[in-house]
């Protein structure tokens, strides 16, 4: 997976590159619009992360040129201005998603993975499984180590999200938005409580804990490394 980051703020750019590299992606970093457009048009990327405010060419112009050249590479744009017009403009120009600065890195990673997954075609699985945990999407049943576990609808949705994104750290805001359709930051620990309750049903009576808390970032479901 190769992606391009166009970001003029050097610290942000470096950290994005570092974070994405460590997440297993191969990244190029362009520090201004002209370089960014040149790289975007000459290299085959799987994803472009584009800052809107750039010296030289701005993000909109790059986006326009990229789409004009017939490339359908997914584009995620970053903006410091949370104006509706900005978002609408970006999406109209053909961007696939956007993030408003400041954003959580986990959020960016989650969006990046969603965009990369979107490009891939494949048959939707009807069952998900991680270690000895199995989720039957059709019958809406959950089994762990052969034992049936009863979940409420929202708990099921939360578990499904965590399992589909196995190994990804999901920030609280993303969970609230995907599971409950609440697209704002709640100032309560509601997600924490919901995850704790899910854990109570999934993990508590088992030795291997699948749901992990990543402090300061969010939650991840994965089979622990055998040590």
């Amino acid at each position: 997976m190769k992606m391009l980051i166009v970001e003029d703020e050097s610290k942000t750019g470096e950290y994005l590159r570092k974070g994405l590299n460590e997440a297993g992606y191969n990244t190029d970093l362009a520090r201004d619009g002209t370089d960014g457009l040149h790289l975007a048009l000459t290299t085959n990327y799987d994803l472009i992360i584009l800052d809107v405010m750039l010296p030289g060419l701005d993000g909109w112009q790059i986006l326009k040129s990229v789409r004009h050249s017939g490339q359908s590479t997914p584009v995620l744009f970053l903006t410091a201005r949370d104006a509706v017009e900005d978002r609408v403009k970006g999406l109209e120009l053909g961007a696939d998603d956007y993030l408003v600065k400041p954003f959580a890195f986990a959020e960016l990673l989650a969006r990046v993975r969603t965009l990369l997954r979107r490009g891939r075609n494949g048959t939707e699985p009807t069952t998900l499984s991680v270690a000895d945990l199995e989720l039957d999407l059709l019958r809406r049943r959950v089994m762990r180590a052969g034992k049936r576990i009863d979940l409420t609808a929202k708990e099921f949705a939360l578990l499904e999200l965590l399992m589909r994104r196995e190994g990804e750290v999901l920030p609280r805001t993303l969970i609230a938005s995907q599971v409950w359709d609440m697209n704002f930051d709640s100032d309560t620990n509601v997600i924490e409580v919901a995850v704790r309750r899910l854990r109570g049903k999934i993990d508590d009576s088992f030795d291997t804990k699948l749901i992990q808390t990543v402090r300061g970032m969010g939650y991840v479901l994965e089979a622990p490394d055998p040590e």
Partner: protein
């Protein structure tokens, strides 16, 4: 281009012009009626004399008595130096001429009849006269009428009129000057409130926006203006106050978390530690940063809302559905706190769904935070004519009435000691709720008594 004269100068000039015009008009009316009066007086006098002469001439029947007429006339007009008489015999001879006055010949050749006497004026050298010329028939058979002319010297009238006009013009000039002066004084006095207002207005600065123009002490005409300007000042003061509150709020609210971040980072860095400590520090910093980021985006939202928020998308919303979705969201939290949710009533309105959700969510999380364990958080929805009412109630500690008016203020925390607790959010939740409700054209209120706190939202059903 019209010259920009001061109001005082304009009014002074206008006063002078008006009073001189009025006085000039009055003076000319008086002068002309005086002149007419003199003319009438003279005509009456001359008419009387003509009648006298007429009487004398009428009786003349012979040439001899005609010659006698001169003596009679001299007797009759003795002691009247201002009067002149000329009698012409029917054949044109001068029978009698007094004072050596020359009458205009064309008037003598066209004498008037007694029934229509019309005085004429003429000048003989430096002297001016008004006179009558009459044809009078004698009893002498077949003789043409004799002509008698009588005149009066009108020099004294002319003299009087000249003096009168001189006095009048002097008076008009003087009066115009005096009224201009008085007008100037009056204008200066009348405009004193404007100067007072100006002095007061120049005292208004960014740091002293509380200055107001005097309304009671100025005339009614200015009171209205002063009142309007005061209202403008009040609006400015309010906006200015909010702006400066906004900046000081931000500074104040940022100080604590940033000081925490600085201290803990510097303490951790002051000596070598194991990786777990560093991880702990970074995680803790990360949490604090997230809180800061959330505060900034909430502040921006509020800043936008205070400049008139436009609702991004308006749709028909069933409020009870939104509340149910939120109950679902807060379900785990409520259960953990031993609080139950109750919903009653329905209501439909037009609005922006995510924003209304956010507004209601803040009320619910607030209610949950303060609800007593084992109690019930109740949401009642009702529709009355064109408004939808939403009441969110929880049992819990009664809020001090002193805090009630400020609950929707930014960063206002009734319990100061509790600020910056991890679950306590940014202190902007209720302010955001209020901003959203106002953007929907509604209003918010709160009451708290007897361990029951209720938040009321009133929203128009249609936009």
């Amino acid at each position: 281009m019209i010259r920009r004269l001061s109001l005082t100068a304009r009014l002074t000039i206008m006063f002078g012009l008006v009073s001189s015009t009025v006085l000039l008009g009055l003076g000319s009316v008086i002068a002309s009626s005086l002149q007419r009066h003199f003319a009438d007086q003279d005509r009456d006098l001359l008419g009387g004399k003509v009648m006298l002469v007429h009487h004398m001439v009428e009786r003349i029947s012979t040439e001899e008595s005609l010659a006698e007429l001169a003596n009679d006339l001299r007797d009759a007009f003795i002691g009247h130096p201002d009067l002149a008489v000329l009698a012409l015999a029917p054949d044109g001879r001068v029978l009698y001429g007094s004072n050596g006055v020359r009458f205009p010949a064309e008037r003598l050749s066209r004498p008037q009849s007694l029934s229509r006497l019309d005085a004429f004026e003429w000048a003989d050298g430096p002297r001016k006269f008004r006179g009558l010329a009459v044809a009078i028939k004698t009893r002498i058979a077949d003789a043409p009428p004799a002509v008698v002319a009588v005149a009066v010297d009108i020099a004294h009238h002319t003299q009087f009129m000249k003096a009168f006009r001189r006095t009048l013009s002097a008076f008009v000039v003087g009066a115009a000057l005096i009224s201009a002066l008085l007008g100037w004084l009056a204008v200066c006095r009348g405009l004193a409130p404007v100067r007072a207002m100006k002095a007061r207005a120049s005292a208004v600065t960014a740091s002293r926006l509380d200055q107001r123009l005097p309304v009671e002490s100025v005339p009614i005409e200015f009171a209205d203006l002063a009142y309007t300007l005061n209202e403008m000042l009040a609006r400015l003061e309010d906006a200015f106050q909010r702006l400066s509150d906004f900046s000081s709020d931000i500074a104040h609210e940022l100080r604590t978390p940033i000081s925490n971040l600085m201290t803990q980072t510097q303490v951790e860095l002051s000596r070598a530690r194991d990786p777990a400590s560093y991880r702990e520090l970074l995680a803790s910093n990360g949490e604090e940063f997230e809180r800061l980021a959330r505060m900034i985006s909430d502040m921006l939202f509020l800043a936008k809302a205070e400049h008139g928020l436009t609702l991004p998308s308006i749709e028909r919303i069933a409020i009870e559905r939104e509340v149910e979705a939120l109950f679902d969201f807060y379900d785990a939290l409520a259960e953990e706190r031993g609080v139950e949710f109750q919903l009653s009533g329905t209501g439909e309105l037009q609005g922006d769904r995510p924003m209304l959700r956010r507004a209601l969510s803040n009320l619910l999380s607030n209610a949950l935070r303060y609800a007593t364990a084992g109690s019930c958080v109740r949401v009642s929805i009702s529709t009355e004519s064109s408004v939808v009412r939403v009441v969110v109630e929880n049992q819990g500690p009664t809020i001090d009435p002193a805090h009630i008016p400020h609950l929707f203020d930014r960063f206002y925390r009734a319990d100061k000691a509790r600020s910056h607790e991890k679950t306590d959010g940014t202190g902007l939740g209720l302010a955001i709720t209020k901003a959203i409700v106002i953007a929907h054209g509604g209003s918010v209120a709160v009451s708290s008594m007897g361990r029951m706190t209720s938040f009321y939202l009133v929203l128009p059903a249609n936009r």
